[in-house]
C-alpha cells in the first residue's frame, strides 16, 4: 500500500462523524471534568435540564450549538447563565471547531477528487 493510501486510511480512522459539528459550553466544577479524557465523557457529567446538581451530574449546560452539514444549525441558550463573556468564549470555540472540520473536509475532498 502506498504511503498516500495509508495516510488516507489513517485519516478515516480519526474521523467518526463529519455530518455535524457540535460545540457545548458548560459551567460548573472543572475538577469533575479533569478526570475525563474524551469529549464524549463530558456528556455523562451534564445534569438533565431542570434537575439539581449531584455528584455525578455537576455541570450546567449554558450554550449548545449543532451545525449540520447542510448548514442548518440548532442552538440552545440558557439565558440565565449565558453572560456576554461566556457567549464570546462559546463563539470562539465554535469558530475553532468550524476551522478544524473544514480542514478535515478539505483533506477528504482533495483526496477523493
Amino acid at each position: 500500500m502506498s504511503k498516500l493510501s495509508e495516510a488516507v486510511g489513517k485519516l478515516g480512522d480519526h474521523i467518526n462523524d463529519l455530518s455535524e459539528l457540535r460545540v457545548q459550553t458548560v459551567t460548573g466544577d472543572v475538577k469533575a471534568v479533569i478526570s475525563k479524557n474524551k469529549l464524549s465523557d463530558l456528556q455523562d457529567l451534564l445534569k438533565p435540564s431542570g434537575t439539581a446538581s449531584s455528584s455525578t451530574a455537576s455541570l450546567n449546560l449554558v450554550l449548545d450549538t449543532t451545525i449540520a452539514f447542510d448548514g442548518d444549525s440548532l442552538n440552545f441558550i440558557d439565558t440565565d447563565l449565558a453572560t456576554e463573556e461566556v457567549t464570546s468564549i462559546h463563539r470562539e470555540a465554535l469558530e475553532s471547531g468550524l476551522n478544524q472540520r473544514k480542514a478535515i473536509v478539505e483533506m477528504f475532498k482533495s483526496l477523493l477528487n
Binding site: 502506498s2 504511503k3 498516500l4 495516510a7 489513517k10 485519516l11 480519526h14 474521523i15 467518526n16 462523524d17 463529519l18 455530518s19 459539528l21 457540535r22 460545540v23 457545548q24 459550553t25 458548560v26 459551567t27 460548573g28 466544577d29 472543572v30 471534568v33 479533569i34 475525563k36 479524557n37 474524551k38 469529549l39 464524549s40 463530558l42 455541570l59 452539514f69 447542510d70 453572560t83 463573556e85 461566556v86 464570546s88 468564549i89 470562539e92 470555540a93 465554535l94 469558530e95 475553532s96 471547531g97 468550524l98 476551522n99 478544524q100 472540520r101 473544514k102 480542514a103 478535515i104 473536509v105 478539505e106 483533506m107 477528504f108 475532498k109 482533495s110 483526496l111 477523493l112 477528487n113
Partner: protein, 536 residues
C-alpha cells in the same frame, strides 16, 4: 456522511465572480509569501518522529544541492546529505551552512532554519528575483551573492566553472563578457549606463540584478530583433540584432556575434529547463545551436539535438511553425515566452466575465485551448492566466507571475511535488491524532476537542473570563493555521492531479476555490494574531 454535497458549497462557479475571486487569486501570491515569511505554515504540529525526519531529509537535500551550486559543499558531501540528514551532519554540511550564514551576514547558528532557507532560495533559483536591496548595493559584503553570480555566469556559458570552495571573486573575464552582452542587447534600456559597464571590471547593482533575473533576460531577448530587408531574408521573419561599440576593445564584431549567439543558446536552455524539458544545463563548450540568420556561434561545434526536440515540441504545442522553429532559435520564441496579457478593455472584460459564468463554459473554452495544442501544463496554465488576467484588469501582472511560477513549479517539479504532498498529507493526518482530548487544561477552564471538530468548553464559576477568552482565541488561531495547512495540501494535490490529467477546467476551479479559502484563512489568522497581540 454527505461529502458529495460539500463541493457544491465551494464549487459553484456562479459564485466566483460575485466574491471577486479573480482579484483574490491575484493577491494570493503576495499573501502566501507574507504568510510564509511569518512562519504561519510552521504552526502545524507533528506527531510522528519518522515523518519529521523524512521532512528534514527532503529539506536537507534541497539545501545541500544549493550549497553545492554555490561551492560551499563538495559533491561527496552533497551526496551524503541527500541520503541521510543525520549523516550529513558528520560531513562538511554543517561547516558549509555556517560559512554560508557568515557570508550572508546571518546569525551563524549552524542550523539551516527558515531565514537560511529563504536566503538560499533567493540566491539559487531562476524563479526568484527578490534580491534584498542591501545585497546589491554592496555585493562585496555578501560573498555568497557573488558566488550566486558566478554560478549564474557559468550556467549562462560565460564562466568556465561553478564557484569553487576557495572562491574569492567572480571571474573578471566572465563579468566583462556579460557587460558586453548587456550593451550589445541594449538590456538596461539606458545607453549611458551600458557604456559605463563596458569599462567597469566589476558587477554593478544594475548588472547584478539583471544577471540574476531570468525573466528580464527573456524580455530583453524578446525585444532584440529587427526585420531584415537583405536578399534571401524571408519576408516578415524576425532576426536578432545586436549593437557593437569600439569601447569593447579587443573584441571584434564577429567575436561579439558569436558571444551573443552562445548567450541566446544558453538562455534558451535555461528557459526550457524551467519549462520541464529534459535539457542539460552543464557547461558543454563544444555544443551549440544555430540562431536564425547567424548559424552556430562556434563553427565545428556539435548541434544540440535535445534542444531541437524541445523547440519542435514547443512550436507544435504553441501553434507555431515547427518547420521554422526546429532549424534555429528565433526571436518569435522569446516573444512567445515573454507574452503579456492584452491591454484592458472594459467591453472585453464584460464579455469574458459572462463567458466564465458556468463550469460548462470554462470547460468548453479550455477544450478549445487544448485542441490548439498547449503544453501539458505550462501553456494551459498560461492561457488560463491570460484569460483570468484580462478579467482581473489591474491585477493581471501579479496573476501572470503567480500562475507562471506555479506552472513552472508543477511542471518541473511534479515528482518532487507529489512526494511533498505525500509528506504533507502524513503531517496533517498525524496532527489529527494531537487533536483528540484536552486542548486547554487550566484549573478553572477546560476545552476538550474531538478530531471531528466537536468542542466541549467547561468554565468554573468565578473564573477570569477575559483570560479564558484569550486562551480559546489562541485555540482558534491554531485551528485556522491547521486549516490553512490542510487547505494548501488540498490545493497542491488538486492542482497536481488536475494538471497531470490535463483537466484544465478542474485546475481552474482548484485555483479559484482554494485561493478564496486560503485568503480567507490567512486574513483570519492575521486578524487573530493582531487581536491577541493587542490584548496580551
Amino acid at each position: 456522511m454527505g461529502l458529495a454535497a460539500y463541493p457544491q458549497e465551494l464549487g459553484n462557479p456562479g459564485n466566483w465572480l460575485q466574491v471577486d475571486a479573480v482579484d483574490r487569486v491575484a493577491r494570493l501570491g503576495d499573501l502566501m509569501e507574507e504568510a510564509e515569511t511569518r512562519n504561519v505554515f510552521d504552526g502545524l504540529p507533528t506527531g510522528s518522529q519518522s515523518t519529521r525526519e523524512d521532512c528534514y531529509l527532503l529539506r536537507g537535500q534541497v539545501i545541500a544541492e544549493r550549497l553545492w551550486l554555490l561551492g560551499y559543499l563538495d559533491a561527496d558531501s552533497k551526496q551524503a546529505a541527500s541520503q541521510s540528514f543525520k549523516r550529513a551532519r558528520k560531513t562538511r554540511f554543517i561547516p558549509a551552512v555556517k560559512a554560508f550564514q557568515s557570508d550572508m551576514g546571518l546569525r551563524v547558528d549552524e542550523w539551516p532554519g527558515p531565514i537560511t532557507w529563504q536566503t538560499l532560495a533567493q540566491l539559487v533559483s531562476f524563479e526568484n528575483d527578490r534580491l534584498e536591496p542591501d545585497w546589491v548595493q554592496n555585493p562585496a559584503a555578501f560573498p555568497a551573492l557573488l558566488r550566486a553570480a558566478q554560478c549564474r555566469l557559468c550556467v549562462l556559458g560565460l564562466a568556465a566553472n561553478l564557484p569553487a570552495r576557495n572562491f574569492t571573486q567572480v571571474s573578471p573575464a566572465a563579468v566583462t563578457r556579460f557587460h558586453q552582452l548587456v550593451f550589445a542587447l541594449h538590456a538596461l534600456d539606458d545607453r549611458e549606463a551600458e557604456l559605463k559597464l563596458l569599462t567597469s571590471g566589476k558587477l554593478t547593482r544594475q548588472s547584478l540584478m539583471l544577471l540574476l533575473d531570468q525573466d528580464r533576460l527573456i524580455v530583453t531577448l524578446s525585444q532584440a530583433w529587427s526585420l531584415r530587408k537583405t536578399p534571401g531574408a524571408t519576408r516578415g521573419q524576425k532576426y536578432f540584432r545586436f549593437f557593437y561599440s569600439q569601447a569593447m576593445g579587443d573584441l571584434s564584431r564577429a567575436a561579439l556575434k558569436a558571444l551573443v549567439n552562445r548567450f541566446i543558446y544558453r538562455i534558451t536552455l535555461v528557459e526550457f529547463w524551467l519549462l520541464g524539458y529534459d535539457v542539460d544545463l552543464g557547461n558543454r563548450s563544444n555544443i551549440e545551436f544555430p540562431v536564425r540568420g547567424w548559424g552556430t556561434g562556434q563553427p565545428g561545434g556539435r548541434e544540440d539535438e535535445s534542444l531541437r526536440h524541445c523547440l519542435e515540441d514547443f512550436a507544435w504545442r504553441t501553434g507555431s511553425s515547427v518547420h521554422n522553429w526546429r532549424k534555429a532559435i528565433v526571436p518569435e520564441l522569446f516573444i512567445e515566452l515573454a507574452a503579456v496579457p492584452d491591454p484592458e478593455n472594459s467591453e472585453l472584460d464584460k464579455a469574458l466575465q459572462s463567458h466564465f459564468c458556468s463550469e460548462q463554459e470554462i470547460t468548453s473554452a479550455l477544450s478549445d485551448a487544448r485542441r490548439q495544442g498547449p503544453l501539458r501544463l505550462w501553456d494551459g496554465m498560461k492561457r488560463i492566466a491570460r484569460w483570468l488576467a484580462k478579467i482581473a484588469g489591474k491585477a493581471r501582472t501579479s496573476l501572470k507571475d503567480w500562475t507562471t511560477s506555479l506552472a513552472r513549479f508543477f511542471y518541473h517539479r511534479s515528482l518532487e511535488a507529489y512526494d511533498a504532498v505525500k509528506y504533507a498529507v502524513s503531517l496533517v493526518v498525524n496532527s489529527l491524532s494531537n487533536l483528540d482530548g484536552y486542548r486547554i487544561r487550566e484549573p478553572d477552564f477546560i476545552v476538550l476537542v474531538n478530531p471531528d471538530g466537536d468542542h466541549g468548553v467547561c468554565i468554573s464559576p468565578g473564573t477570569n473570563n477575559q483570560r479564558s477568552l484569550r486562551l480559546v482565541r489562541r485555540l482558534r488561531l491554531e485551528s485556522a493555521r491547521f486549516a490553512l495547512a490542510a487547505q494548501l495540501v488540498g490545493f497542491f494535490l488538486g492542482a497536481l492531479t488536475s494538471s497531470l490529467l490535463s483537466r484544465w477546467a478542474a485546475l481552474a476551479r482548484t485555483l479559484y476555490d482554494n485561493a478564496k479559502r486560503c485568503i480567507e484563512l490567512v486574513q483570519q489568522i492575521y486578524a487573530l494574531e493582531k487581536s491577541l497581540a493587542a490584548n496580551s
